[in-house]
């Protein structure tokens, strides 16, 4: 099987390398990819959309449908992880730690539930105390990472950034919390229900902004028709519409990243994991 696979891979590679002979050279300004549509985008995008970041302009305006269904794909991925893995069954064995003394209690009867609070703490089976240095540094870093994520979303129109990138950065800051402390710390702060609602709200913001354009007399995703709803310069309405859409994407991506992480590391139990 390995040898057969190697032969197949070599054949495919040889075919592709043979094909590169016809390809344009590295960085050729007259290559077919950059003489038709791209010139149109580069020269007219600022005039038409008032957004200097062409990637955002193409992503959220010219190819708005693509990005909308992209967000739906991300939402579906989170949904699939939830449906495949989520396990609502309570675990039989539980471990508690008496915080003042550090004594660990092993409760084998699933009906006996200790009240966690100041004295007792629910803990993982193979628990190791988190390192103080890691905890402190992550605690300092996480707010800055989150501010940076919001900046990346908000400045997506003018500098490198956008909803997907900002959402991933924000989601990774929450995942960092789970890695540096404990999965329980994250689940306690960010409830599963809230994550699910936010994932849906993100997609809904995108679809909602696109759908509001229709009763205003435009096509689906025609942001320019939103001008009467927003005070301020009607010239920038397309940029504002894109910003709203990017915020929706960011919320959805954040929530879905955290949903996927929590479900995979804890095998759907949301109790213990990395």
């Amino acid at each position: 099987m390995k040898f057969l696979g190697f032969i197949i891979v070599c054949l495919t590679g040889a075919l592709l390398l043979y094909g590169t002979g016809e390809f344009p050279g590295w960085g050729d300004p007259h290559s077919p990819a950059s003489i038709h549509l791209s010139n149109d985008y580069i020269e007219k995008a600022v005039e038409q959309t008032q957004v200097p970041n062409l990637v955002t302009a193409v992503l959220a305006d010219y190819r708005g449908f693509d990005t909308m269904f992209e967000t739906a794909v991300v939402f579906c991925a989170g949904l699939a992880c939830f449906l495949l893995l989520r396990d609502f069954k309570e675990k039989k064995e539980r471990f508690y730690r008496h915080t003042p003394t550090g004594v660990i209690l092993h409760v084998k009867d699933s009906k006996k539930v200790l009240k966690t609070g100041k004295e007792f703490e629910h803990m993982d089976k193979d628990w190791v105390p988190s390192d103080l240095i890691i905890k402190t540094i992550c605690r300092i870093l996480i707010p800055f990472i989150q501010i940076y994520a919001l900046y990346v979303v908000a400045h997506g129109d003018f500098s490198p950034g956008g909803g997907f990138q900002g959402g991933v950065i924000f989601g990774s800051s929450l995942i960092l919390l789970a890695i540096s402390y404990d999965l329980k710390v994250l689940v306690k702060r960010v409830k599963e229900k809230i994550l699910g609602i936010f994932a849906a709200i993100g997609v809904l913001i995108y679809v909602g902004i696109a759908a509001i354009c229709m009763p205003m007399g435009g096509n689906f995703l025609d942001y320019s028709k939103l001008a009467p709803l927003v005070p301020g310069d009607p010239h920038h309405i397309r940029a504002l519409g894109m910003l709203g859409v990017e915020i929706g994407v960011g919320i959805a991506v954040t929530a879905v990243m955290v949903i996927i992480y929590i479900n995979i590391v804890s095998e759907g139990r949301h109790e213990e994991g990395l």
């Binding site: 390398l17 200097p52 062409l54 992503l59 991300v74 579906c76 991925a77």
Partner: protein, 138 residues
């Protein structure tokens, strides 16, 4: 031989992507472990992303963010030349491709976790044996 060398030097970027893609494809076909197959899939996707981004590159051009366009309405005075900015379209397509790759990887990992929960293994040959032993779920 020199012909081949000049061909490689002229198109070295494509050669790199094809080699990366072959590594990913080989891992997907020949590796026995499901997680290693997933890693191969990710390498394959990375090769395609790099290939697209390299197509968008133009010599002596900068990133596709229009300079001095942050000011508002007086930007129309400045003429924008397409030669000065690289092609934004491959970047857009690959941005969405990266997101899809994250989504597919997440779902694939979830499926791998389920497979491990049921059969206690991720090796393909052992999986096949256990499938024969256990039979289809009634």
């Amino acid at each position: 031989m020199t012909d081949l060398l000049t061909l490689i030097v002229a198109k070295y970027n494509y050669w790199l992507y094809v080699i990366l893609m072959m590594i990913g494809l080989y891992a997907m076909i020949a590796k026995n472990n499901l997680i290693k197959k997933l890693v191969g899939m990710n390498i394959f996707q990375t090769a395609i992303i790099l290939f697209y981004v390299s197509i968008g590159y133009k010599r002596d051009a900068t990133i596709p963010i229009i300079q001095n366009a942050h000011g508002g309405n007086d930007t129309h005075a400045a003429v924008i030349h397409a030669v000065d900015y690289i092609n934004p379209l491959p970047h857009v397509l690959m941005l969405t491709a990266i997101v899809v790759s994250v989504a597919t990887f997440g779902v694939a990992m979830a499926l791998a976790v389920r497979v491990y929960q049921r059969y206690q293994t991720l090796e393909e040959d052992e999986l096949r044996m256990r499938l024969v032993d256990i039979g289809p779920e009634k």
